[in-house]
Subunit: 244 residues, 2 copies
């Protein structure tokens, strides 16, 4: 039909919209700076816009220069995931001593949620990249956070098994909720930021009387309250794990 304006070959000026991080002179390339540029590109133009060549040009450099710091595109994606979840370490709300494990998990959950909402286009990557080991679960997919998580719970009297079960249940909760939340706000940027077609072509809804009746309620966004409620329920459930 019509050429997709945000497809890679579209306009190329898109690169011009984002000012190069450090025009020309560029003080030294490094892994961290490259990953930062990549994350900015994803945040503004979506995953599909992430290209070795484009990351290079954002840094005032040819694509090939990147290979001196990061051994390829796959490694870049892994690095992006790592950098984004590491933002948790800079979050004073999370990285602190906590009175009890409930408080710890509350802060941790909200910290991860903040990250997901700040980088909605990156979160699917966090959710689906293969983890370092099969027992490392997204979205808390760093050994450091796993250690912290398990340590805190065991310190609070959880048995080893209960702590492990809690990690798994907590991961599944966060993954489901947050992926749903970012996907609802249009992650993966499907077609185009084109004319909003309204809430689904009404024609489609004709065959679904219930959807038609409920679509106003379906469209209401209660994700924040839902998150709090489900988190509360989860914590209560974990409490029963603790005593085994």
């Amino acid at each position: 039909m019509v050429v997709d304006p945000d497809s890679p070959q579209g306009r190329g000026d898109a690169a011009a919209v984002l000012p190069a991080v450090r025009p020309g002179a560029g003080g030294g390339l490094d892994r961290r700076r490259i990953l930062g540029a990549a994350i900015e590109i994803i945040d503004t133009d979506g995953l599909r816009a992430l290209t070795m060549r484009r990351v290079g040009s954002r840094l005032g450099v040819e694509a090939m220069a990147i290979y001196h710091y990061i051994p390829g595109r796959e490694a870049m994606l892994d690095g992006i995931v790592e950098v984004v979840i590491d933002e948790l370490y800079g979050d004073p709300d999370v990285y602190l001593a906590h009175p009890d494990w409930q408080e710890y998990l509350q802060r941790l959950a909200h910290g991860v949620r903040r990250i997901a909402l700040a980088h909605p286009e990156v979160f699917p990557l966090i959710a689906t990249r293969p983890p370092a080991a099969p027992w490392v679960r997204p979205p808390l997919r760093s050994l450091r956070w796993m250690e912290s998580f398990l340590h805190t719970l065991i310190d609070c009297g959880f048995s080893d098994r209960a702590a492990v079960a809690a990690y798994q249940a907590f991961s599944s909760f966060l993954l489901g909720h947050l992926l749903l939340e970012v996907s609802a706000q249009g992650a993966d940027i499907g077609p185009i930021p084109e004319a909003d077609p309204g809430p689904v072509k009404p024609a489609d809804l004709d065959e679904y009387p219930l959807l038609q009746r409920l679509s106003p309620q379906l469209a209401e966004d209660h994700s924040a309250e839902e998150f709090e409620e489900s988190l509360e329920t989860l914590l209560n459930r974990l409490e029963t794990f603790g005593k085994d």
Copy 2:
């Protein structure tokens, strides 16, 4: 690479000799057959191997022929998601009258789980493709299933609001659990089916004493039981929604 041995028999000259009698028999290309080939490619070689050219060659046809049935790669991905979740309709365990909503949700959940495990490389697509409307939630992302879901619950005495809340909670549960489950079994095929590096380089674990101690337990796979348990918990929680 190598010609696929179970691709449509014979050069397609047969189709030239025999005028297409029945679309979808032997030689005729159609949307459904194309999507089927695409799904087989993903199942066997992963998402990254899915290429217009490769789908074409699997069907004994040039890549460009596909564009007469499907308007591009994005549309193909959407079609794949649609076809895979539509497998639910063929599942007699699911598509049946049910004594109560608990039974219905149980069967539905297990049906979706079966699909996820049958197509672990497709599930991330189901999880992350932008849905038709923001209120359509993966993985139950078809209007038809949403209608069925809401209808069943409302028939069982749920209020409109409670039914909607149940749909959302159910979606989040399925998404979290199943994405975790398929990602643990190595979805998104990271680098290559190369030499298995064992369960994480032991060097990494040196700094994480707890992970070291718990790694045997972390590696145990209890996903099936966890699924049952969490589903049970969810159903109990939904029961409290019902009375509002």
